[in-house]
Symmetry: C2
Subunit: 361 residues, 2 copies
């Protein structure tokens, strides 16, 4: 496979978009990425788009054709990819594979979700479709409840505290306050998190990522021609994906993300790097406990020490490994299909990349 | 890119499955394909699954993880791909790319839809999500209506008759009667089609494909190791995909499938073949007019002559180019996400392939 680089990124502000629809958002992000990449539309040979639940949220499937049409890109192929909260990341991975294989040269990858047109109960039910619908959602287990069980187990096994969970939200709001694309650009305190409304014990409302509208897009090209378009193409040096039992009750451990461990192992092997080489990471903090498990299972901290590390400021902006510099899902927002692509946008624009033309996973 | 072959196929019977759910169907098809390929589960490195609207039809998204779990394949990556009625075909294409790129060796591709648990009006609304929801479905244009407009225009431009449309259904039912996996295994007459209930003038109920439950799966491997698993691996010599304006009102022509023309051109170029080399084809006959347009726009017959060719028996089983030997969507059934993969199952099992180790698109 040939080396592939990101040559442009673009996104909309994340938040509640009352005056823009699903297609407006993703087209805006796509056009910004195309502009950022200094390419013309005619140079794009294919596209991928990640969206989790456009069918239920806005009544629209067949997103690939919709985008090809409304971005004026027909007759190129655009394919929708879905993997719940990983939809954007998986779309990126397919785009990467399309370029790496030699099938296409310039490929655009988008991610989008329009979520705020329905009420919270409906959206929560729809998001439950990411779990095991027959065995979890049908019996009343929505995602806050599932992650609450993971948090409780993590607290039981590793003495993780509510303050440690809260410190994830506080850090991510601090980062979000610096990000003009973030849904919440305000800082919060640990005390505010702890006193906020209980959602699913021990998770309070400030432990949860919000419901968000938004879109993000990136442009990919073979590394050897990437320099033609931009001064600092960001090479993709690894891509890995793994799965786990979808239903929580089938997993070997409630306090561990096994798929994350497997994918991280493969990615580090591909990149020939170790965790010590990583300066910055965007991880999935749909709930505060998710970020703690992610930084442990990616290998940045020993199992059980992620909470304390966060409370001690070891994942803050100015630390050795800055986690969720965008504000994460918590403060930047979580338009499900867009999140994985937004993470790529953030990480490629980070100073560590701009200065050292460095790495990302 | 390295050559890729199909080494195993499997499917469920298409029809109304009252005693089997979404996951049961796709797992059954997957296991049959794995058995047919003579592989062990541990050899599978990745998977793709096509499903159009599982979120709305059965409340379940995140189909990749669901399958990895329930087929006992964790932690391998499985990714859902959606492209309306092309979902299965696009999943196959991603699987092809994953093997061709060298990213994975053995890849399983599935397609599935469980549609009969809802009533026809609901399903029709959900299928409308394949069109332009804001500009077509919202204003009342469901798919029978959209294809009726295409049929009317084709009749106006090319003197295509109701008998010609009916002859597609008659041929496909004749083929379906020989297919043990088909939803309808009964022959029908032109007179029966013409006298059947009008759905959207000029399309009668026998011009329409049915609502169906079912699943299909195939196993892919690099050609150089495919012989290890089966005597007659079927090489994939071309794969192409194209898009068109999603809303009918934006298309340059109502009586032509532009995306089909573009994709066919690319596929024939890749394969270094012409239409004269094709012995058998599976095409998308969601409505009888769709098959007529497909065989014209694929280049098998001149524009406007597809209806007469069908009426004259030129696409029958024993003709020069047999079209929809499975019974097509019309008689074999149309579980949307499964259809594209079923077409691959059918075409690889066809005598022309078994005897000559021949070609398919």
């Amino acid at each position: 496979m040939r080396p592939v680089a990101v040559i442009g990124v673009g996104m909309t502000k994340f938040g509640e978009h009352w005056n823009e629809g699903f297609r407006d958002l993703v087209i805006k992000a796509g056009l910004r990425a195309i502009e950022d990449a200094n390419i013309h539309g005619e140079e794009i040979q294919a596209g991928y788009v990640g969206t989790m639940a456009s069918g239920r949220l806005v009544g629209q499937e067949h997103i690939g054709a919709l985008l090809a049409d409304h971005m004026g890109l027909t007759p190129i192929p655009i394919t929708r990819v879905e993997g719940a909260c990983a939809s954007g990341g998986l779309a990126f991975r397919q785009g990467y594979m399309a370029v790496a294989s030699g099938m296409h040269d310039i490929v655009v990858v988008g991610g989008v979700e329009k979520m705020t047109d329905l009420d919270v109960a409906e959206v929560s039910d729809i998001l439950g479709g990411a779990g095991d619908q027959e065995w979890e959602l049908f019996l009343g287990a929505t995602f806050p409840g599932l992650y609450a069980m993971m948090a409780r187990r993590h607290m039981y096994e590793y003495k993780t505290t509510a303050e440690m969970l809260a410190s994830v939200a506080v850090k991510n709001h601090k980062n979000g306050a610096k990000n003009k694309y973030a849904q919440y650009q305000n800082e919060i305190t640990i005390d505010q998190v702890l006193k906020s409304k209980m959602i699913a014990d021990p998770l309070k409302v400030f432990d949860c990522s919000p419901i968000t509208d938004g879109a993000a897009a990136v442009v990919l090209a073979p590394l050897d021609i990437a320099k033609k378009y931009c001064e600092q193409p960001i090479e993709i040096i690894a891509s890995a994906q793994a799965s786990d039992h979808i239903a929580l009750h089938s997993r070997a451990s409630l306090s561990e993300l096994y798929a994350t461990k497997v994918a991280a192992k493969h990615a580090f092997e591909q990149a020939k790097l170790t965790t010590k080489d990583i300066d910055v990471a965007e991880v999935h903090d749909c709930f505060t406990i998710a970020e703690i498990m992610a930084i442990e299972d990616l290998g940045f901290y020993k199992k059980g020490e992620g909470g304390k590390a966060t409370l001690d400021g070891k994942t803050a902006l100015d630390s050795e490994i800055a986690v969720n510099t965008s504000g994460g899902l918590k403060a930047c927002g979580h338009p499900v299909g867009a999140t994985g692509v937004k993470q790529i946008c953030e990480i490629t624009k980070h100073p560590v990349n701009m200065e050292k033309n460095s790495r990302k996973i």
